[in-house]
Symmetry: C2
Subunit: 392 residues, 2 copies
Amino acid sequence: MTEDATGTDMPAQPEVPARMAAARGSRNDHTRRHNLSSLVTAVHYGGPLTRAQLTRDTGLNRSTIGGLVTELAELGLVIEDAAAETGAVGRPSLIVRPRVDVAALALHPDVDALELGAVAIDGTVVARRRTSVDAPPTPADAVAFAREAARDIAAEMPGLRVVGAGAAVPGLVAIDGSTVVAAPHLGWRDVDLGAALAEVFDFPIAVGNDANMGLRAEWSFGSARGVDTVVYLNGSASGIGGAALVGGRMLRGGRGYGGEFGHMMIRSDGDRCSCGRSGCLETELNAHRLDAAAHDAPAFDALASTLATAIANLECAFDPDLVLLGGYLGALFDARRDLVAARVRELAFRPDAEDVAIARARLGRNRLLIGAAERAFAPLLEDPAGVPLVAL
Amino acid sequence: MTEDATGTDMPAQPEVPARMAAARGSRNDHTRRHNLSSLVTAVHYGGPLTRAQLTRDTGLNRSTIGGLVTELAELGLVIEDAAAETGAVGRPSLIVRPRVDVAALALHPDVDALELGAVAIDGTVVARRRTSVDAPPTPADAVAFAREAARDIAAEMPGLRVVGAGAAVPGLVAIDGSTVVAAPHLGWRDVDLGAALAEVFDFPIAVGNDANMGLRAEWSFGSARGVDTVVYLNGSASGIGGAALVGGRMLRGGRGYGGEFGHMMIRSDGDRCSCGRSGCLETELNAHRLDAAAHDAPAFDALASTLATAIANLECAFDPDLVLLGGYLGALFDARRDLVAARVRELAFRPDAEDVAIARARLGRNRLLIGAAERAFAPLLEDPAGVPLVAL
DNA sequence: GGGTATATGTTCTCTGCGGGAACATTTTAA
DNA sequence: TTAAAATGTTCCCGCAGAGAACATATACCC
């Protein structure tokens, strides 16, 4: 039995999938939206920029930029300041800066703590509330904490205008961006956290996997800033979280479970993993084993070598511009940089002698807050005039 | 040493990567281009469509569609026919069909043969020339063959207007879409095939990896039609080629070497692979072993199980909507469907009981020609008015 | 066979948006 | 003080799609 190896005729194609069908028509107001989006995106990631800079970057006309910036100012998203002294010839250009009273909330429920932050549109964490918990919090705990902490922050920062909230959850989140399908360490299963939070807040909620949001943060303001193709591995008490950026887009997968590199098989004769399989990366290289090997150089080296194997495997699948390591994997890498690099060089499938770039994540405790907030900001960046801001 | 766990302040961001900077401004003619592109894309993938259908799909106005279709007809890309009898009330809508004299060439140099095809814009292979070779062809052989075969096809089909050519090469192709960095089975290394072909042809050349182009073809007109997230594995004499679609986009990687799943480690104590590592999928599961196990059920089952392991591993990394198998992997799957499915179910990292969809590629010998042609058509689909068509 | 309802093609006008020219403003340099 | 350079502002133009009005082609009903 072989594949259809028919002649020149093609089979009939009754159904046309959405992506292949005629895209929704583009109208003039789409143009406007796109241009507004470009400007907000630029000041979001790039901070204050002059109008002249925006004119050059976009290729749009001075007059057009003027109109767009005016509209953004009226929307309350940016402020125009008089220029700083530049020393250059000519009339100084006005400086467009994002208004830092525009913010997003970010929730991070974890095994041992609940945290809520407010992140301004320039990526700074402007407020933070954290509470340690003895037992893993229930969804209701998380929602109640979020409501109280938000109320508290609102009192502290009365002028804050909120675009939405993001929640970074250590577990599998469905593609709907709302349902936590399984968060083993929290003991959650099929919890619609987005709906629960929506009952407490008046703005949109985006729920996502913590590793995805961590990578998003590092891409936006951290070690992976602007890098198009990134593989991210983060080691924490709850195992190894993974995420990948592919061509500038987050790898999500069909159901939202993409990037679970903690469960890639790294040793065919490895130990049993909690997921039911054997030899998963997060079983072979977990915090416990790392602690145990802390004073045993050969064992520690072996773990570094395991990390290198995982990196090499991901390298041949993704060919990333950068492999980013966070949590205890970042620490392990820092402790054995040369060994890891050498081992990856040895194992990596590469036609050239160029090394795989490996770096350590650097946003630390701000990472998940920033990442979750980035998710919440995304609709605003895409359609600045179409997303309402509400008082917290 | 820990990651920067600073307070609320963000580090300064001196450089802004291109993706984050203000995007190029959108002008009115971008709108036009986008809409023309939508229509050509729709008839390319969906075949003949009525104007009324296009109006509904795009949401554009009847009058706008009229103008767009007229422009496409003037460009020689589509033809409007009187409606077929539909039996419906009302004036019958005109049928817009792609002009099949618009074509792309597709070259496939392989170990044992050279093949050139002409593929019409509706995806049909309208001409084909093939020659078997005793020894792997040199780049010069491939170019000479392409020139002669193209001349031959031109004589046979005088009216053909060509948008470009694609070449599907069994090896690593650089991100530039021109240079074959390494094609071990052909014995090519650092060959700028695109430049060599450009000296012979008057149209743009796109060179790519054969697995990528195979998946592109199956996505366009085959088993993976329109599926957003696909992992593809193809077994051939030259090993196992891999490719992936992520969110509707081909996984390319930073240098163009993404998707080399043939070299993912599948057994930590496996045999030495030609790439220098051990236990690579294409070493553990190659054509030779498959032949050897043809009459040994347990050995054959073991190979099927190896395939299942690979699928499960890819599943946890990509969470694909579909795993597509071609070549001997497709045959192996067909011979042991239940075993593979059961083993994948057992190994796959999934929170739900839903099975991973696995299918066999079905375009057969047309696959690489169609895929390579798709690459060549891409610029035309994106900017129908901006890409010249030349006589072959 | 003729009239009506329905759907679509065609034409014309209107609106929104970006481009660009001309002019105003603000700085540096001579 | 004047000139040059760069940018902001204003006003007008052209392009593209929306939509109304009208023309055309089919099915259905009598």
